[in-house]
Symmetry: C2
Subunit: 334 residues, 2 copies
DNA sequence: TAATAGTAGTAAATCGTTTACAAAATGTGC
DNA sequence: GCACATTTTGTAAACGATTTACTACTATTA
């Protein structure tokens, strides 16, 4: 494969001149530039990005570190990140952590060792706890989860507000015994906050037996929902904090032959294909996933260009999409 | 950040010795090795992978080039690829082509310029047509689509067989007017072949008005299904070649207030969350997506280690999952 | 004891760029 | 035609690792 040396030789100039022609074209006679370009063309020369990266101490690669790309939320984000990166001439290294801090640490080290230009990540709880901005030798944008200590760029949903609106919607539609399936991620906790705030705002008090912390997985949502249904006084509505938990909940409700929303209403976070296809369709808060990913990529690329600019926290609002799963409660009161 | 030079200095040896300690440990006195390791530890030294890559002319990165990571099929594959890569110490660069040959070419050039160890790709039609194995300076494994010319590693489904079984299942359940929504990808064409083969094997002849070529998108599936439904003699079953088309088909069927399977049966390819959650659930051929991705990654990594080994074509069978959307046809014959 | 083999370590070349600096060429004003 | 500024070009040193060629030392064997 032709190197810059070959091009220089073929054009009868030094490598420095070739480099100048290719980078900015400054301080090069038009005639020489033509000769160089011709040689580049003829030899099919393409700059070696590894060498460039070594010399310039940075690359055009960004890392995307999420818990699981199979989660539709992160799938959409990754698509948005990759699109934006492509537009700006960056490429994306994909990393799944499975919420495992060790895996996460390994990936962060990899980022460092390969001199990435920056990374977008949804950190595990441990990392959030120990986070300080000086940890990393490259810029980072945090998505989805909030970081209390540390001055970083962040893009996330207004979770408290979103949960508040979702639960308020349930109350307004006549539901009173509203149970919640939350995860222990920061996201889940904030949504719990919004849930409780909404209950209180409408004169209802949170009941501990209606509040469960579970891992964000369908099987966990399934198991927890069965337990809720089997309570002496089962809930008349179920609030879940993500689509995987909701999926499990739906399966459990179906298994017990309950009707949505007559026996129990179901609302959740995150728009998915299935949420609009099942009958009744599911009421939910749609996160602007594509926009989150796009914004994160833009923030990152801007910071790469200007490391000293002040950090930004972008808080996006969710969109309440009302569907059949939370239709106004018939007849029965509390 | 500490370099190998700093470590060498700190340990009072040359950089070559440090390198040897870190790579194989050969020809180094235990005492010296200890000193070096201590220095590595103390300085928190981590080898610079860019430098290593430049010197060794290859990296531990592999490319994954697919049409769209949002397609659940490719989401699952990417997860499997990333898992396998992680286990073997490789990282994955994600590329979406949107079936655009130019984007694909840009990505392939990027792979070359960054000296990736290899790539896994689902090529666009144009690339399939012009494919020759000598095209690329790095190993490639093709997934999902078949390549006629060129001696490459390939992992794909036995599409003809899968489609044959799916359509045969419909026929056995009493359906006779079976329409097909195919894409023009090689995958779609092979599935069409299986569809026609199955019809003929059971004494039915393919009807051109029941055969549509459409892009693999939900909106296209929706539009095409409406047209089929509005035919003078509409089909009594619909065979679609992927989950996106099926999604559109389902929405169209719902819009026309038809009942599945009484008015029209629906079968498709690819297991998705929604296919098992809608009622009736959808009969389909589940591709072993995780296995496809895992196998592809393994083939690739093996070839990276041994470039001269003979190529392999791994053909996997799909799994027919029978559900309500193709329940045996009641009363009415043809 | 000398020849030989093997081990331990060093210095320098290499991978392909970019860039600071120096040198050469060109242009300008008088 | 000379001094000086300006533009163009080349030289060589990085970047940070690996690897080769080579030297020096130790141990083994006849």
């Amino acid at each position: 494969m032709a190197s810059i040396k070959d091009v220089a030789e073929a054009a009868g100039v030094s490598t420095a001149t070739v480099s100048r022609v290719l980078s900015n074209g400054l301080h090069v006679r038009p005639e020489v530039r033509e000769r160089v370009m011709a040689a580049v063309e003829r030899l099919g020369y393409r700059p070696n990005l590894v060498a460039r990266s070594l010399r310039s101490q940075q690359s055009n690669t960004i890392g995307l570190i999420v818990s699981d790309i199979s989660n539709p939320f992160f799938t959409a984000i990754s698509r948005a990140v990759e699109d934006s990166a492509y537009e700006q001439g960056f490429s994306v290294v994909l990393c799944n952590t499975d919420e495992n801090p060790e895996k996460e640490a390994i990936y962060l080290n990899l980022m460092r060792d390969t001199a990435v230009a920056g990374a977008i990540m949804s950190p595990t709880r441990q990392t959030i706890a120990s986070f300080t901005d000086s940890n990393f030798p490259f810029p980072i944008v945090i998505i989805d989860r909030s970081i209390s200590n540390g001055d970083v760029d962040v893009v996330l949903l207004d979770n408290v507000d979103a949960a508040y609106r979702l639960v308020t919607h349930l109350v307004e539609h006549g539901y009173r015994r509203i149970a919640a399936l939350c995860s222990e991620m920061s996201t889940g906790l904030e949504r719990q906050l919004g849930y409780e705030k909404a209950l209180r705002a409408h004169g209802l008090s949170p009941r501990s037996e209606y509040m469960r912390y579970i891992p964000p997985r369908a099987d966990a949502g399934y198991a927890a929902t069965l337990k809720l249904i089997d309570l002496a006084e089962p809930p008349d509505a179920l609030f879940t904090v993500n689509s995987l938990i909701a999926e499990g909940a739906l399966r459990a409700i179906r298994e017990r032959n309950l009707t949505i929303p007559d026996d129990i209403a179901l609302v959740t976070f995150d728009e998915t294909t299935w949420a609009s296809l099942v009958q009744p369709a599911i009421t939910l808060i749609a996160q602007p996933t594509y926009e989150i990913g796009k914004t994160a990529a833009e923030l990152l690329i801007q910071r790469i260009a200007a490391p000293e600019r002040p950090t930004r926290q972008v808080i996006l609002k969710g969109q309440l999409i009302v569907r059949g799963s939370s239709a106004p409660r018939q007849n029965t009161g509390v």
